[in-house]
């Protein structure tokens, strides 16, 4: 036991420093967003190994981490596995498999990344979707020897459904095919064809060996001497750029809650798109009541805030005491949201129970939540074979009108079995691009 620490003075005050005005720019904070990249592909094709390699080669690991992995591998009686840097659960290490998604950050050449390791095993597809839905870009990994497999195709399909269209393909384990260029060219062609059917055009297809560290960070002049293209890391770096540009668009203020903790009645929510200013007239849907904004509340800020833009969390008070509650959507009078009872969506069913027509499900769009029913299925797609390259399409009918239009920044509709527990193995859907423009409520204001 170390010595008991000394007591502190009676009139203790903690460390204080002045607030930096002007935000992160003035404080030298990180201005740039981190590019989030998910690594997907068939089980055992080397996704976790690749990420471990990237972290090790870019010197992003804390001291002692590699040694800890070495010890774990020895205990499991295995040669060194870079994958253990990600597969940290005992169950994962014992089976050399990824069970759940890991998200881990690193910086290189001044660019921040967050790499998301997705599991390739079919059983963990909900975890793969959880990881991939957070990504802006993807690396689709293929084992050079095994070629395209079931989950290679399914993950490709999911990427397109999730709207992750920036994709780099890595043909891994080139060491197992004697670094042969012909093999790479065959897979290059095959994967481009497949992804083309999904309207994904890969930014780059690169040969690598994750385990040997060939063409990951460092180019490889021996086996891959024939390769004139970029390393994987170079390909990643060359693609960074903001692709989550905040929508300026019309105002869509989704209401999360209304607080009455003191004499104020504070409406709390998030700006999915557009701007608000003090004094603006805002209409709240579905009730269609209007009020002017009296104030924007910003705790801890000595200067009153006059305006907030897209993506920001907001807390406002209103001039008029109109009824507003969670799920309402505020907009300006000029640009109201589309409200409809029906929508068309592409979906991916993650539950173990089949989805049935007319079965009630809970539909969620941002903070709106209504009961909905699947009324028809237009097309089905077999994710394993991707036959005829058709989309999953279906129509949903809802119990109430919901504000739903493309101005919602997040493709936020989710669902759970109505009344059931949304926790375990619950179905989740993947959003469709087009909302069904039928059964639409007459636009506001009524003329």
């Amino acid at each position: 036991m170390p010595p008991v620490p000394k007591p502190v003075a009676k009139d203790y005050v903690p460390a204080f420093f002045p607030k930096r005005q002007g935000g992160a720019a003035h404080a030298g904070g990180p201005e740039e967003p981190r590019t989030r990249i998910v690594v997907v592909g068939h089980v055992d094709h080397g996704k976790s190994t690749l990420i471990g390699r990237l972290l090790a080669d870019t010197q992003s690991l804390p001291d002692g981490k590699l040694e800890a992995v070495e010890r774990a591998c020895r205990e499991e009686g295995m040669p060194f596995e870079y994958a253990f840097l990600l597969d940290a659960l005992l169950e994962e290490q014992a089976q050399n498999i990824t069970i759940d998604t890991t998200r881990i950050g690193f910086r290189h050449e001044g660019q921040g990344f967050e790499i998301i390791d997705a599991p390739g095993h079919r059983e963990f597809i909900k975890n793969m979707v959880t990881g991939a839905a957070a990504a802006e870009e993807a690396i689709l990994l293929i084992d050079a020897k095994e070629g395209l497999k079931e989950q290679t195709r399914r993950h490709g399909l999911l990427l397109s459904l999730l709207g992750v269209s920036k994709v780099i393909v890595a043909v891994n384990k080139m060491d197992l095919v004697d670094w042969k260029e012909e093999r790479f060219r065959i897979l290059d062609k095959e994967i481009r064809e497949y992804l083309g059917g999904l309207k994904i055009s890969p930014r780059e297809v690169v040969p690598i060996s994750a385990r040997e560290g060939a063409n990951v960070k460092n180019s490889d002049s021996i086996g891959l001497g024939w390769w004139k293209g970029p390393t994987l890391l170079r390909a990643l770096l060359s693609g960074v750029g903001r692709n989550d540009v905040q929508k300026e668009g019309p105002l869509r203020l989704v209401v999360q809650d209304v607080y009455r903790f003191d004499e104020r009645r504070v409406i709390a929510g998030k700006l999915e798109s557009g701007k608000i200013r003090v004094g603006d007239s805002v209409v709240f849907f579905p009730d269609r009541k209007t009020s002017k904004i009296r104030s924007i509340e910003d705790w801890g800020n000595p200067d009153p805030v006059q305006e907030l833009g897209p993506g920001r969390g907001v807390a406002i008070t209103l001039e008029e005491q109109i009824f507003v509650e969670r799920g309402h959507v505020g907009s300006h009078e000029q640009n109201p949201p589309v409200e409809s009872r029906e929508l068309k969506a592409r979906i991916f069913w993650l539950d173990t129970e089949p989805l049935r027509l007319q079965a009630p499900v809970q539909l969620r769009l941002a903070t709106q939540s209504v009961e909905g029913r699947l009324v028809s299925i237009d097309r089905l797609v077999d994710a394993d074979k991707l036959e005829q390259k058709r989309w999953v399409g279906s129509r949903w009918r809802r119990s109430g009108f919901v504000a739903a239009d493309p101005w919602f920044m997040t493709p936020t509709i989710g669902w759970n079995r109505w009344g059931g527990l949304p926790c375990r193995g619950a179905p989740v859907w993947v959003e469709g691009e087009s909302f069904w423009r039928r059964n639409i409520r007459p636009p506001w204001p009524r003329r």
Binding site: M1, P2, K6, P7, Y12, P14, A15, F16, F17, P18, R20, G23, A25, A27, G28, G29, P30, E32, P33, P62, D63, A72, A88, L89, L90, T101, T102, R103, I104, G105, G112, K126, A134, Q256, D257, Y259, F261, D262, V266, A268, K270, E297, W299, G300, G309, G311, G313, A315, R364, T367, T410, P411, T412, I413, G414, N416, L421, C423, G425, V428
Partner: protein, 267 residues
């Protein structure tokens, strides 16, 4: 919009989603940098008033400064604070003098929390964990359910994306709400600096040593550092190769110590 601003907005969104969906939530609070960032974010999320109690799980091995900070903050922020001690385990003689750090951490932290859960019947707990702290936390969800036994079913976590979270629990279960999951240690310090959030002085060097992560005094090591300013901390973190929790003995007691602790309810 700066990345830090994005993180702040996201955390505020998570706080509000939790409060809108759960009936009886609480926020464990350890007086460290992450905890104080959470208070700050909660103040912003709820326009100045934190509408749920804070809970300090007092292991009875707290640094004197942390206790002093606790009392100072209770006043300063006007928070509703519940202090919990696992008296039963202390009576049995569980302590660092005689037991290993994993056992003591489990008894005096996780079980104390479980006792508090049984007493107050919280359905959600806001925690300050971050993915970059350790590799099991890197697999966490923003809303992470725990069983009635306070266990984390890491082999079967719910799907979670596009701002939709697990918000229903069976009786006795609760959800860990984790607004700082996407933040890094560096992000927290940059935010502390940007906002001017008060933190304990132990984070700043005295006689060539400072603390990077704060826990029970018998098992928490300080690091060698000359850094005595907030700018210094930010700069040091940009170049350091030492893991944040390297000085926390319970993490390194055995292989996968964190997994075992966290599966049983540790934060």
């Amino acid at each position: 919009m700066s990345y830090l601003q994005h993180l702040e907005d996201q955390s505020i969104y998570i706080f509000r989603e939790a409060f809108a969906n759960f009936k009886n939530m609480a926020m464990p609070w350890s007086m460290g940098k992450d905890s104080n960032t959470l208070i700050w974010l909660a103040k912003k999320a709820f326009a100045g008033k934190i509408p749920f109690p804070l809970v300090h799980i007092d292991t009875t091995y707290e640094f004197p400064e942390m206790l002093a900070f606790r009392e100072w903050a209770r006043n300063h922020y006007g928070i509703d604070l519940i202090v919990m001690v696992n008296e039963e385990a202390r009576k049995r003689g569980v302590g660092y003098e005689s037991h290993d750090p994993v056992t003591v951490t489990h008894e005096l932290k996780s079980l104390a929390l479980q006792q508090a859960l049984a007493k107050y019947k919280w359905d959600a707990l806001v925690t300050g964990i971050r993915r970059d702290e350790d590799s099991t936390r890197a697999k966490e969800r923003y809303f992470s359910p725990r069983t009635a036994e306070n266990e984390w079913e890491y082999r079967d976590q719910p799907p979670e994306f596009w701002g939709q979270f697990t918000t229903a629990v069976k009786p006795g279960e609760h959800v860990r709400v984790q607004p700082l999951l996407d933040w890094t240690e560096l992000d927290v310090w940059e935010y502390v600096r940007r906002e001017g959030i008060p933190v304990p002085k132990m984070y700043f060097a005295e006689n060539g040593r400072r603390y990077r992560s704060l826990g029970c005094w018998p098992i928490t090591q300080s690091i060698e550092s000359q850094v005595s300013t907030i700018d210094g901390i930010v700069e040091e973190l940009k170049t350091t190769k030492t893991a944040e929790r390297a000085g926390r003995a319970q993490d390194h007691h055995e292989r996968n110590a964190m997994q075992k602790l966290r599966a049983k309810g540790f934060m």
